[in-house]
Subunit: 470 residues, 2 copies
């Protein structure tokens, strides 16, 4: 028994020595090889997507996902795994929404809609009204109360197709969805229909969060998304006859907040255990699909980062945590809670990386950091080139890690290829079959390589610890 | 009428002046914008895939594709559109193949196979024999005739998962498919089963070309591909019991060569009409799917290059041709014929670009050219960066343009993201729905930008014409 124990310890020692004598090129090559030949992310995602399914905050599925990922992290031999309690909103969709366009002659055409997350219900028998189409809030102002009162406002601004980064096109549209009800209610609108945030023409409505801000309950109007094909249809019918009616029925509602959890695992640092580096995604998803891309992918990739570090025999100097955030989609409670508690405990979070842009082929990272650190990142570009990782830009990181921002730390976001992302985002086709195993695994490897480099060289190049030694 | 004509000419003049006064950045931005907001490639691909379908050389569908693409090119207002006759092989699959594994007890398990292109049929009632599994030709040699004679050779070497460029993994495997029958026949094998060239585990067999070289007819043994899942199953069953039988039946055959065509369109150069730059893909495809990625995508992207040049008001100095090659898959007759006739006519082909790696997000190009030209290409990298095109490497180009190689010209291949390509390659799921519109359009724009730059600055930087003027 002693002999076995000694042999085991000796083996671990050899692995450790081996990694330390390897060049960064070799370590990173090994990470990619392990991810592509022995990755766990795809199997985890299969379970999250196909055994659990959509994981809306406050749902039973969300709690199953908490339990499952905690159990899986516990199998990895990390130093700590725990749940961090957080209260989350619970919004439920109710029965499937129904909508049609009605011409003056009474002929009806059924269209595909879904309630926006956070919306109130229509009256029990539905809501029917004339429709006024607008592209933006300026249009509302120009039309004024006289043209809008008593009508359903139809926001029909498309995502801009010639932007290469589709997230920029999303950014240029999403205020219609998020603020559309608040703005339309000012002019006496009775409901809101929003063109789905989708670059493709299809029949799938895409949900997503919306707000009423502090509007009193009686001024809250029901809001739904309509598929891109049906948005075009509605627009055409309105051009032919502005008097057409739109009918929709949804019985979604907001319940009381419920208890949920962030799931956290940690490899405690060997030299600077009080410096925390985190990698994460969000466990919750919308309810229409199974949330494979948004953000099952980010969850399983983040889990695999810690597994790959261990499998590669890397003993990080700093404490590396995987954080699976709850409630990114409709509240960001998990991200806020994690940052709040980190602040309370005085935990120094020097680095936070989020994967929440889909499980597609990774192209690189965006960084929210100072110039010195960014230049350090740029010096690593040759290490990533063999893996076709070329995109290193300053910019946003991720919603969940945002609250951790300090003057000196590094926030980063994985940037996968974005062309297909909004075909699936928040829709019923955000499903496991749309994720490619290799693309997912390449993302996990790319994240692991970045974590390895930041742990080895440190975040702030002026520290002694951060001199590049190789 | 005169007034209208004058106005039109004046407008064209303005467009032309405008392009010439624009920077390369502006011209390329406009190309991408036009491709993404007003591209034609996706609609063309829809027709090729869904109205015509698989286009195996010598088939009726292949001729329909010739006719359709010629008609569409004629609508573009090019200077010339014509068909270039070429005799092509005609291999037909016959009725759907059937195969099973039979245990000693007589229990049978059906498996998914398809005949390899060019294979002979099995006997009419099928072929049943013991199986010997090998990974490569060295295994055959080590086993020798004693172990192989009278058996079916099962080539089961997987694609190497840790290679980032999946085409390299394909290159490491494809000799099993192409030369497997010739090598196995040397040892008296009666048939060949090859693991599908696919990085994914699924149930789809992937066809592809194979050869018998100059083997006499009576030594030609039938060859088929088996799905990756079924290859694993067969391998496992052989480990449990090496005496299992494999049965397969296919009635494919090689008919006489038939007449077909390369389809060619040309914008004649304004300054150097005798210098030819071509862009192309191959019109033929395998027959199991509709050939959307291989190579419908390359066909429609190449067509769109000429359309985008015209739409952008670019008047090329050199003659730009789109060439839609026939019979890349099982003979390369179109590529050879085009080069042969170009040589006969003394046409100086200074540049040839092929798109034949799928319609996925473009990552860049590989180049077969001299160092001076390659350095010129590298100087253009900043122009491509806004479109996330980063990959510029020396290497292969494309099978169809290969025969055009001279000492001084440039051959190039579009390099799209390759992670998903072999999930679909030569299989029944190489279909239109697997192509993303934006990814396809980005490829067309990227090709157009490269053609624009090479036309403007020339191929050989030591020529007067090729000094970079901007």
């Amino acid at each position: 028994m002693y002999k076995l124990k000694f042999t085991l310890i000796f083996c671990l020692f050899l692995v450790s020595v081996n990694v330390q004598s390897q060049t960064d090129e070799q370590v990173i090559k090994d990470i990619y090889k392990k991810a592509l030949t022995n990755g766990k992310s795809y199997a985890w995602l299969n379970h999250l997507s196909n055994q659990i399914g959509g994981r809306l905050s406050g749902s039973l599925n969300a709690e199953k996902a908490v339990e499952y990922t905690k159990e899986e992290l516990e199998k990895l031999g990390l130093n700590k795994v725990w749940l961090q309690p957080v209260m989350v909103p619970k919004w439920v969709r109710g029965i499937k929404e129904y909508a049609f366009i009605e011409s003056e002659s009474g002929k009806t055409t059924t269209v595909n809609i879904c309630a926006l997350g956070g919306s109130v219900a229509t009256p029990a028998l539905g809501l029917k009204a004339n429709v006024i189409e607008v592209k933006n809030f300026e249009d509302l102002e120009a039309l004024g109360k006289a043209e809008i009162e008593g009508k359903i406002v139809f926001y029909n601004r498309s995502m801009q197709a010639d932007l290469i980064l589709t997230f920029e096109a999303y950014g240029g549209c999403v205020n219609q969805r998020y603020m559309g009800a608040v703005e339309a209610a000012k002019y006496g609108a009775v409901g809101v229909i929003v063109r789905s945030m989708n670059l493709r023409m299809d029949d799938l409505p895409h949900t997503g969060s919306m707000t009423y801000n502090d509007l009193p309950n009686e001024q809250r109007i029901p809001s739904a998304a309509i598929s891109t094909n049906d948005a075009e249809l509605l627009s055409t019918m309105l051009q032919l006859d502005p008097a057409v009616n739109f009918y929709f029925k949804q019985n979604c509602r907001q319940l009381k907040d419920v208890q949920s959890y962030n799931v956290i695992g940690e490899i405690t640092g060997s030299e600077f255990p009080d410096e925390y580096m985190i990698v994460g995604g969000h466990l919750d998803s919308w309810d229409l699909g199974d949330g494979a891309h948004d953000d099952g992918a980010g969850v399983v990739q983040s889990m695999d980062v810690l597994r790959l570090l261990k499998e590669s025999g890397i003993k990080p100097k700093r404490s590396i945590r995987v954080v699976l955030f709850m409630n990114e989609e409709n509240g960001l409670r998990g991200g806020k809670k994690y940052a709040e508690l980190a602040k309370q405990k005085g935990e120094n979070h020097v680095f936070a990386l989020e994967s929440d842009s889909g499980g597609f082929t990774p192209r690189g990272f965006s960084f929210d950091c100072n110039d010195a650190t960014f230049n350090q990142v740029l010096s690593w570009q040759p290490l990533f080139k063999p893996y076709l990782i070329h995109y290193f830009e300053k910019g946003g990181s991720g919603a969940d890690v945002g609250p951790l921002k300090t003057k000196s730390n590094v926030l980063a976001g994985l940037r996968p290829d974005s062309q297909r992302y909004f075909d699936h985002h928040h829709a019923s086709n955000d499903t496991f079959d749309a994720v490619n195993k290799r693309e997912l695994e390449l993302g996990a490897a790319t994240m692991t390589a970045l974590v390895y480099l930041f742990d080895k060289y440190g975040v702030n190049p002026i520290n002694k610890d951060t001199q590049i030694k190789d």
